[in-house]
Structure formats: C-alpha cells, structure tokens
C-alpha cells in the first residue's frame, strides 16, 4: 500500500516535470511542441554522454538543460516562428522536427537501447517499506523545478512579460513588450525543461532514440486537461498519474499505459476547460 502511494506521488511528480516544458510553451506561444518528446530524448542522451565522459552524474541535469535550450534556440527561429497563429500546422511541423532530431540521435548514437549511470542508487526505508532512493530524490528535484519556475514567473521581468503575453498578446505588444523575444525565451526555456526532464527520467529507464514518444503523448494529454495553469497541471498529474499507477498495479500494466490518454479525452469531452477554470 505504501509502495503504491509512493509510486503515485513519484509518478505524478515525473509527469509534472515532463509536462512543464510543454505547458510553458503552450501557455505563451499557444502552440503545442510535438518535438517535446525529442527534446526529452536529447536530455536523456545528454545524461548518457555526461556519465560516459566520467563526469559527476549530477552534472547531467544542468548540461541537459543547456543542450535542450541550445537546440530550442536554433529551431525556434527556423521552424516555430513562421507557425505562430497556425496551431494545427505547428503540431505537424514540430512532429516532423521530432523525427529529424531522433534521426540525428540515431545517426550519432545508434538505435540500440543504452543505460545511463544513476547519480544515486540503492533504496531508502520509509515506514517499513524499502523504496528506490532515486525516485524519492526526483520528488525533491521536481519541487525545486516547480519553485524555481514559480520564482521565474512571479519574480522576473521575463516572467511578468510572459504573463502579459499569456493574458493578452496584442495589448502586451502595444505596451512595448517585445513579444517575439518573450516567445523565443519561453520556447528556449520550455525545451530546456524538456531536456532536463529527460535527464531526470534516464536513471529510471533505458535510453533509446524514440523513448520520448510515450512521454510526449501523456504530457500532451495532461497539458490539454490542465489548460495553462501550473496548479491544474499538478492536480492533473496527481489524479491521472495516480489512476495510471492504480490501473497498472491492480489490473494490467498495458491498460495502465492508456489510462491517462483515455481519461483525459473523457474529461475534456465532459468539461472542455479540463481541470482549469472556465
């Protein structure tokens, strides 16, 4: 029972971290970055490279973020900027981008499954249950990401501009905010977050060029349900991620794999605003 509870919490936290980058971009740019899964993969390979060079595995997180941000900066100019205002086309073009990125990764690293070194191994005993120490650490990291991000949004000038763009882009531009810059920075941060999330999940799973796709789908559904609020995203990750763990543990892991997708579609049908406010 304790294990299931911990599974629910850590799964929700991982989903939250993975979906955060997607939500940020969706909130400000109003487009869905279907290359999100590929950026996740970029971060995972970043972690792989970090440990392969014998560097401290903890370094893989900042390095992954940087790798994602750099690639993000490049593609924002080339692919994303022409697609503002064409949300369905943006889905397609970023999906194509995902294909291209994962093919580059395949060319560079091969198609086979690889394993990165975990920064923390072993288990911790909580209330009589032993539990993976790394999964528990993800909790702390997720909270740090969440708080850091809240600080960025609430406390920084970029955050203020981003909130202005989310609320009313035309007005923000009229007030002299460089909305192009806000979008570019948001996209870069979103891609960096995706890669960071990739590095974070790497020690829990194997690494391969297409590992991002299942995560992309779940993150996408969560963002659709959450709208553009971090609180609703956290709520959605907890409820739907929790449902996934319960179905996987007590019924079948295969059915668990489609729980989030199915529940999200139904939630949206019944309540188009999802977990957000109307």
């Amino acid at each position: 029972m304790m294990t299931v509870t911990l599974d629910i919490v850590t799964t929700a936290v991982l989903l939250f971290v993975v979906a955060t980058g997607l939500l940020v971009i969706f909130g400000v740019l109003k487009i869905i970055n279907f290359a999100h899964g590929a950026f996740l993969t970029v971060g995972a390979y970043g972690a792989l490279v970090t440990t392969a060079f014998g560097l401290n595995p903890w370094l893989s997180f900042p390095l992954a973020f940087a790798a994602g941000a750099v690639v993000g900066l490049l593609v924002e100019r080339l692919v994303v900027r022409p697609l503002y205002g064409r949300p369905l086309d943006a889905i397609l073009a970023t999906w194509g981008l995902g294909i291209v990125i994962s093919q580059f990764i395949t060319l560079g690293f091969g198609r086979e499954i690889q394993f990165a070194q975990s920064p923390l191994s072993g288990t911790i005993s909580i209330l009589g249950e032993t539990y993976s120490a790394y999964r528990l650490i993800t909790l702390a990291i997720a909270v740090a990401v969440g708080l850091g991000f809240a600080a960025l949004i609430e406390g920084s000038r970029l955050g203020l501009s981003a909130r202005a763009v989310i609320m009313n882009e035309d007005l923000a531009r009229g007030l002299g905010i460089d909305t192009y810059r806000v979008r570019r920075m948001t996209f870069v941060v979103g891609c960096g977050l995706a890669a960071l999330a990739g590095a974070l999940i790497t020690p829990l799973s194997s690494v391969d060029p297409n590992m991002g796709v299942p995560w992309l789908i779940n993150a996408f559904m969560l963002v659709m349900v959450a709208g553009s609020s971090f609180l609703s995203l956290a709520l959605a990750a907890l409820i739907l991620g929790g449902a996934q763990v319960v179905v996987s543990s007590y019924f079948s892991p295969i059915l668990g794999g489609m729980t989030i997708v199915l529940l999200s579609a139904v939630v949206l049908r019944l309540r188009p605003a999802g977990f957000g406010r109307d």
């Binding site: 064409r86 060319l107 489609m258 579609a265």
Partner: protein, 602 residues
Amino acid sequence: MTEESTIASVAPSTPSARAGVERLRRFAAVLGALAILVAAGPFVLDTYLVNTLIRAFHYALVALTVDILWGYAGILTFGQAAFFGIGAYAAALVFTHIGFSPATIALAIALALAAPAFVGLLLGWLSFYPGSTPLYASVVSLAFPIVVTQIIFSGGTFTGSSSGLVGYQVVDFPIEAWFWVAGGGLIVFGALAYVFVKSEMARVLVAIRDNEERCSYLGINTPRVKILLTAALAGIAGLAGFSYANFSAVVAPELTGFVFGTELVIYVALGGRGTLIGPLVGTIGIDVLSSYLSGDLPYVWKLIVGLIFIAVIVALPNGIAPLVEAAWRRLVHTRRATGSERPVGLSSKPVAAVSTATLEIVGVSKSFGSLKVLEGINLTIVDGELVSLVGPNGAGKTTLMRCVSDGRERSSGLVRVNGQDIEIMPPFRIASLGLGRKFQTAGIFESLTVAECLRIACALHDQPSFLRSLEQLALPAAARLVIDATGLAELLSREARFLSHGQKQALELAMVLALEPQIILLDEPTAGLTKAERARIGRVLIDLVAQHRLAVVLVEHDLDFVREISSRVVVLHQGKIVLDGTVADVVGSQIVRNIYLGAGHA
C-alpha cells in the same frame, strides 16, 4: 418549378451540357489510362516493385480518406490508421479463430466494414459536439490509435499481442491479381472520391471548415455531418485493412498505431491536402522510395523525409501538388477551369404561402456570475414589423440576439419562435423553426464562390447532392431580391474572399434569406458600408417586410438609418428595455437623449 426557372434551366443548358459531356469524356479518359497502367503493371515491373506498389496502393487509399477529412472538412486526424488496423485485425481474427470458408470471408468483410464504422461513430460522437474545437478533435484522434494499440497488446494470444497474428489462411490471389485488385480498388475509390469532392455535399464540408458557426446558424447540424463522415471513411479504411490483411498474411499492432497515423498525415501534407492527386502521388511516391532508399541509406532517408516535411508545412502549407499544377498551367498556358468557375444557372424557387411569424421573448435574463447583462426582457415581434434595437455599447443588444438564436445562452426566461419554445436547442434547430441570424462581422465561406455560399444556405430545405456539382441555383425570392439589388447576381462564380466588405455583408444577408426564415435578426448589417450601399440595404429591408411579410429585428447604431426604415424602436440600456415605441416616440424621448448624451438615466 416556376416558369422562370424552367426557362432559366433550359436556355443556358446547351453549352453547359456540352461542357458536361466534355468533362465526362476527359474523366473517362483519365480513368481508362490509369486502368491500362494498372493492368500492364505486373508485366513490366519487377516483383519487388509490384509488391511494394500493392502495399502503397492500400496506404494511398487510406491517405485519401485522411485527405477528405483534413483537406476538405478541416479535421486533422491521426486516427485513420487505427480504422485500417481494425479492418485488418477483423480479417485476421476471423480467419484465425473461426476458420476460413466463404461464409467466414463474408463475415470478415462485414466486420471489417462495420466495426470501424461503428467505432467511427463513437469517436465522432466524442470528437464533435456543439462547441467542440478542432484541436480537441485532433487530440481525440491521436488518443484513439494509442488506445486501440494498447487493447491489441493486452489481448494475449487472441490478438497475438505485440507479435501480431500470422499464419492464418487468406484469400490467396497470385501477385498479379493482387496488383489488379489493389490498383483497381484505388482507381474506383479515387473516382468516387473525385465525384464526391466536386459535389454539393463536399462544399458543405468546406463551408464547415471555413466557418462552422455560420453553418450551424444556417440550420446545418454540423456535428452530425462530421460524425457521419468519420464513420463512413472509417468503414472504407477498414475495407482497405481487410484487403491488406489478406495480401500481407500478417497483421501487427503497428498497423493500428499512432506513428502510422502520423505517416499518413505526412503523405497527405507533402502531396497536397485538399487535392486528390497530391496525396495519391505523395503516398505512393514516398512509400516506394522509402522501400528502396531505407536499405541503402538507413536513417538518412527518414531524416530527409522529416526535413522536407517540416519545410513543406512551414513554407508550403498546401503541399507540392498546387505548385506543380501552377507550373504546369504556366507551361501550357491554360486558364484555370475548375468546377467552381463554371457558370451557374440562377432560378427562383416558387414563393411559399405567406405565413405568419411571431417571436416572443418572455422574461429573458442573462448573467455572467453576478453581472447581469440582460434583465427581464419582454418583447413580442410579429410579421410585417421592422424592429430596431438601439442602445449604447454594452446595453445587451447582441447578447439578446444570441439568447434568441441559441437556446443554451440565456440564464432564464422563455423564447418562442413561431409558437415553439426553443428550450435549450442549439442554433441549427432554431434555424429550422424559421429564424435566421446575420452576424455583425459578415460570416461567409471564404473559399467558396458566391453561388456555393448561397447553395449551402439552402441546405436546410434542399438536401445537397453527393454526386452532382452545383450547376443550378434555385433561390427563394427574398434572397433573389438581395443579390439582384446589390449586383451579386453577376458575381456568382467569384470566390467570396475576393468580395468587397459591402458585398460580403450583402452576401451574408442573402444567405440568411436563402434559409427561408420568417424572422430575421440582423446585427449591424450596415456597419462599414458606404452611404449608397446603406440606402440600398435599407430599401431591401423595407421590401422584405412589406412584400415578404418577414419579422425583422435590427441592431443598429446609425439612428438616421433607424428612423428611415423602422416600424418600431426598442431602446435597451444596461440590460433593460427602457422604451418600446414608434420612431416618433423615441425621437422625442428625454430618456433616450439622456442615455446617449451620458447624463445618467432619468
């Protein structure tokens, strides 16, 4: 049919009929040429290519269904692969678990058609409802193949789980015959699709894509159209799946998958959505090239396809086909002669018996939380009245229009249209009660011609054809009055997006009248019009009320215009009716003066 319409349809029909025969001959020639190519294929191509092409033909057929959904109806779907897969699994499951006999073949075919169509109905019901967004429909279409794949994974030995089903007995044709079956099937479906996309019904799909709200206010049950389209195309994709399961003798979960679904979208996007030839050539070309190049250039080929795909989406959203077409036309100097530019004959519908009209609004209120936008509105309007609704911005005029034309809008109160309580009816049902609404910004269908826009507006009383394209437009007299008075009658073949602002307003008015309503709501029909255009619309409105006995409700800011044409004026202020009287009452009213001059309310 009236005398006029008979003359109109007979007189110009000779050249148009000749053109029709010519078109038919060209159509038959193209089909014949394709049939010869397919017939000769197995004798001139090597076995590997023949095999690859058979697969590509199957994929191309499914790609055509994606194209009709996305390119014409505007529904970006990743789900067609799953219908194809369900059809394939239907065959494999029947042959594996029940056996192989003529009876089970018939059963498998029936299942491969009915199961996807039924699932298509469910998926359509989930995706399309009044107020659903295109993004939501795409989300559902993306979730759907994932769910289907997971179900197959969890099916154990029944579905073969991740390794799929193999070794079942199949309808065993020699390879040449498969080529003919798949190629012939593709030609037949392609021809049917060609007829369909030229038909009046396909114009309805484009209209829904361009402006779904306008369609529903013209009495079209748009969710129903989309649900039925999804189900029909699901069945067709399922049949292709049946054939593929027999040809390949193996089915795998990837056939139903989301990745295959996106590949189909990529083929269609590269070839050119909204054309038939583009997706056909795109699918066959990429699939065949892939099968050759992915061996020589592993990974690089997929990388190239990905890069081209991005470039096409970013720079050529309509794909490569329109580009090739334009180049071809420049080369041979032919003018565009698409179906939409053929002349359309115009005729009048017989005038229906003059009926009475009543719009009763009883105690209607509308509030957003604690903010009351409308409060206790009571108003009855009958035929022969032209009621102007005036009041400052934010008085609730447009909100009142919305509460009358959409049953889900008002917070409380009762609205009866021609005696019928509108309850919580969606707009298309209220339209069928005899109420038409014109929007403030002209709601027209940008990519359709004037004639086609008007034809869509007649759809409520005159079911659009699945086979015929628009050649004869029979309009009710009131709509005819508008297009004659505003010169639109000469512009029937012009695409609506090329019209001037005033012409667009007039077109929308004519569309609303083509619905044959007894009551019309007009929201600032003269906004942004020149003085001459305004006077013309004013005369038309007076005519409509006097001759056609319509009940007209008009929201208007221009008080001079109101004074000239109204039989009655209702003044709204802060959500309440403050005055309901004649033009003279309003002109002499101190209250109205105070409202407009901002001296508080007396």
